[in-house]
């Protein structure tokens, strides 16, 4: 155990900070054309991602030809710390970079890597993840979208829902049923679907915040014809690959959760003392104690997350992994709520980033995005109880 990182790790951090200084996107451009969807790539973000790719800072753990520098996991951790502190998104298309590109690199053909994965990494194109359906939310294995082989092509029919970024994405990493007769988990495949393929209809779903920038969408597939060569990996092996894809995401999501709650706490502590100073002493004590609760959450998230990360690096698994998603997303929700309450009636103003990430009720309602999506908190608790604690399935 030690509190400091090794000197070599700190040198790595300093090198990255130096690079960030030179390559940071202009603030005015970020404000004029903000991120508005998980697949809309503003020009400043494209440039930033491409520079990261070219200079080996996009995925530091990967080799240079894939946008990295063969960095170790601890280096990757401090890299993420600094990106978070700088409040800079390394990509405008998190599913593309975090899940789809790595899955294609693992399971895709050379053509698929050339045509889809590399342009994704260079932010030339964006992708969306077609998993959820009306009857397959948490229960992905229940998905019904059919893909029927017809000569060299598959013909797809069905519907996806909650597809983040579908309105802006260039292609979809789509889960579909290729064998309706096999057991649920064994008849699923992954296919790459360009979003401009005839028969694809995207209907945006306005969310409870920022309805002018819908991110979620329904995607309807009506006799969509795709070449069989667009299948990723082996046919009917989609379920196993989904496990692999999400594992890529989890190790990152888990640290991002820690970074997110820490940076939200930092932002809150920047404004809290002034706000509290306006309150009568009794009210101040009550409000301050609630904020202390969030501080404990943030410190604990870091301790648990970093310890889990060390275990993960050492042995490839850590029980903390299962805990972190529900914990950090719920703790952040609580923190953002407290911040809004602290802002009083000011929090009621429809925010357009006026108070930054914290202090607006928009931020509070937006925070439910992370407790609901990517395996809701309830599903996370089932997973912990059954897979980590060994309680029997009910």
């Amino acid at each position: 155990m030690k509190l400091q990182f090794d000197e070599s790790v700190e040198a790595f951090r300093a090198e990255f900070l130096g690079w960030l200084d030179e390559n940071r996107p202009p603030v005015e451009e970020m404000q004029t054309d903000p991120l508005r969807s998980s697949a809309y790539i503003p020009e400043w973000s494209r440039t930033f991602t491409q520079r990261m790719f070219d200079d080996g800072w996009l995925v530091p753990g990967w080799p240079p030809e894939r946008g990295g520098r063969n960095a170790g996991p601890i280096e990757t951790l401090v890299y993420m710390e600094e990106l978070s502190r700088a409040r800079l998104p390394r990509t405008a298309n998190p599913q593309g970079l975090g899940i789809i590109a790595p899955s294609l690199l693992d399971y895709g053909t050379e053509e698929q890597i050339e045509q889809y994965a590399m342009p994704l990494l260079r932010a030339e194109i964006a992708a969306c993840l077609g998993m959820s359906e009306p009857d397959a939310g948490s229960d992905l294995a229940n998905l019904k979208t059919r893909a029927v082989l017809d000569g060299d092509n598959y013909v797809l029919n069905g519907q996806k829902v909650w597809t983040s970024g579908a309105g802006y994405a260039d292609f979809c990493f789509l889960f579909c049923r290729t064998n309706p007769d096999a057991p649920k988990h064994k008849g699923i495949s992954i296919i790459l679907m360009p979003m401009d393929t005839p028969g694809v209809t995207v209907r945006p779903l306005k969310e409870i915040v920022a309805p002018e920038f819908p991110d979620l969408a329904e995607v309807f597939l009506d006799d969509v014809v795709l070449p069989a060569s667009n299948i990723v990996g082996d046919v009917n092996n989609g379920w196993a690959m989904a496990g692999g894809s999400l594992a890529h995401e989890r190790s990152m999501v888990w640290l991002m959760g820690v970074m997110n709650i820490e940076s939200a706490m930092v932002e809150l502590l920047e404004v809290a003392p002034t706000r509290l100073a306006n309150l009568p002493i009794e009210e101040r004590a009550v409000a301050a104690d609630a904020l202390v609760g969030s501080h404990i959450d943030a410190v604990a998230a870091r301790c648990l997350g970093y310890r889990g990360f060390a275990r993960y690096v050492k042995s490839g698994s850590a029980p903390e992994q299962a805990l972190m998603k529900a914990y950090t997303s719920e703790a952040r929700r609580d923190l953002v709520r407290l911040a809004a309450e602290l802002f009083g009636p000011d929090a009621l103003q429809a925010a357009t980033g006026r108070y930054g990430a914290t202090g607006s009720l928009d931020a509070y309602f937006e925070s439910f995005g992370t407790t609901i999506s990517a395996g809701s908190s309830e599903i996370q608790r089932n997973i912990i109880a059954e897979r980590v604690l060994g309680l029997p399935r009910g």
């Binding site: 155990m1 030690k2 509190l3 400091q4 990182f5 502590l269 809290a272 003392p273 509290l276 101040r284 004590a285 301050a288 104690d289 904020l291 202390v292 609760g293 501080h295 404990i296 410190v299 604990a300 301790c303 648990l304 970093y306 310890r307 060390a310 275990r311 050492k314 029980p319 903390e320 805990l323 529900a326 914990y327 309830e378 996370q380 608790r381 089932n382 912990i384 109880a385 059954e386 980590v388 604690l389 060994g390 309680l391 029997p392 399935r393 009910g394």
Partner: protein, 368 residues
């Protein structure tokens, strides 16, 4: 930053756990609670294994381990709800002597020759401003007066490090237990030797102070005591969690084990998080103490508050999910429930440490 225990630390923990499983099974704890047993034999074994010497510097005849290792010992003692003076010695008395720098006293503490306890808190408060006990010097001889309630390990102590206020400020004094009035008021957890210590013009030897040096030393000692108590509490909580989980896997109602009900599964998931969370923060605090980090005070208060939150959830759900059987004296659960609750209350309550954090974070000013 590496918040994972090293292989050596895991090995030390496993060794301690194995010893305690053999030497301190629930039957030993039960005998104490039933009033027909003592901790003497267990203490003798601990002394033989040099456990009191764990955090004593090598120069003073100790093993010279850091505070993370002391934390490991505190956690395992909590897990076993172990009776005896060891927690008080390693987490309060020895840290006090280390600040004083008295090699001779440290040597007698390390060897188990003399059992010491720290008589600090008054009205349950671990701050020097709460000290009402007084010290006076006449012709070079110190005498102390005052009462300390619920001193950890006081029942077993041969000597006390007694905190009192002199004209020049706060000082710490060595008082022989034979010269003080030590009464055991009876406690819901008879295993930790809580005792009231009353001094009235009792002869004493000055250890440090009186003045700012003693205040600064007591700050550090209070942090060590609180961090160790946090881990001790978490140790008891983890064991409550484990036995409750085991029970939920075998107890059947409505033709299925109760652990298969989703209402319980979600509670177990929350309990697991509470334990892991408090454990991770507890070792962060222990590490901050070991490395004399600038954030140590804040880390300790975070750890003690997290341990308190953990204790409330685990003890309440642990008892509740056991149902009627957990409510009986015959079941071993209550030893752990009582130890965990004692740990939550001692060395600064959750409210105390949360208020400390509010000050650290600049959310409220210190009251004058």
């Amino acid at each position: 930053m590496d918040l994972e225990l090293s292989d050596d630390q895991f090995e030390l923990r496993d060794n301690i756990r194995t010893v305690l499983e053999g030497a301190c099974p629930p039957s030993v704890v039960r005998a104490i609670h039933d009033g027909d047993g003592t901790a003497d034999e267990l203490w003798a074994q601990m002394v033989e294994l040099y456990w009191p010497a764990l955090g004593v510097p090598e120069a003073a005849g100790g093993l010279g381990f850091g505070f993370v290792e002391v934390g490991l010992l505190a956690e395992e003692l909590g897990r076993a709800a172990a009776p005896g003076p060891l927690l008080a010695v390693v987490s309060q008395y020895v840290p006090m002597l280390v600040e004083v720098g008295d090699a001779e006293l440290l040597a007698t503490a390390a060897s188990g020759e003399r059992v010491g306890a720290l008589a600090f808190a008054e009205q349950g408060r671990w701050t020097t401003d709460a000290i009402g006990s007084s010290a006076s010097n006449a012709d070079g001889e110190w005498r102390v007066s005052g009462t300390k309630a619920m001193v950890l390990g006081g029942e077993y102590a041969d000597v006390f490090a007694f905190v009192a206020r002199a004209d020049a400020g706060i000082g710490v004094f060595l008082v022989d237990a034979a010269d003080a009035a030590v009464t055991v008021p009876g406690s819901i957890d008879p295993g930790i030797g809580l005792a009231d210590v009353a001094c009235a013009d009792t002869p004493a030897r000055l250890l440090i102070g009186p003045g700012p040096a003693a205040e600064a030393a007591l700050d550090l000692v209070a942090q060590a005591a609180a961090a160790a108590m946090a881990l001790h509490t978490v140790g008891a909580c983890r064991r409550i969690f484990e036995v409750t989980l085991e029970y939920a896997k075998v107890r059947e109602q409505y033709d299925r084990v109760i652990g298969s009900f989703q209402a319980l599964k979600h509670r177990f998931a929350d309990m697991f998080l509470a334990v892991e969370r408090a454990n991770a923060v507890g070792y962060y605090a222990a590490l901050a103490i070991a490395e004399e980090d600038v954030d140590r005070s804040s880390a300790v208060s975070t750890a003690k508050a997290a341990a308190g939150e953990c204790q409330r959830l685990i003890a309440e759900d642990g008892l509740q999910l056991h149902g009627g059987i957990g409510y009986t004296w015959e079941n071993d659960l209550h030893f752990l429930l009582k130890r965990a609750k004692a740990g939550d209350i001692l060395c600064g309550s959750t409210a105390f440490h949360r208020a400390q954090l509010a000050r650290h974070l600049g959310l409220i000013e210190a009251s004058s």
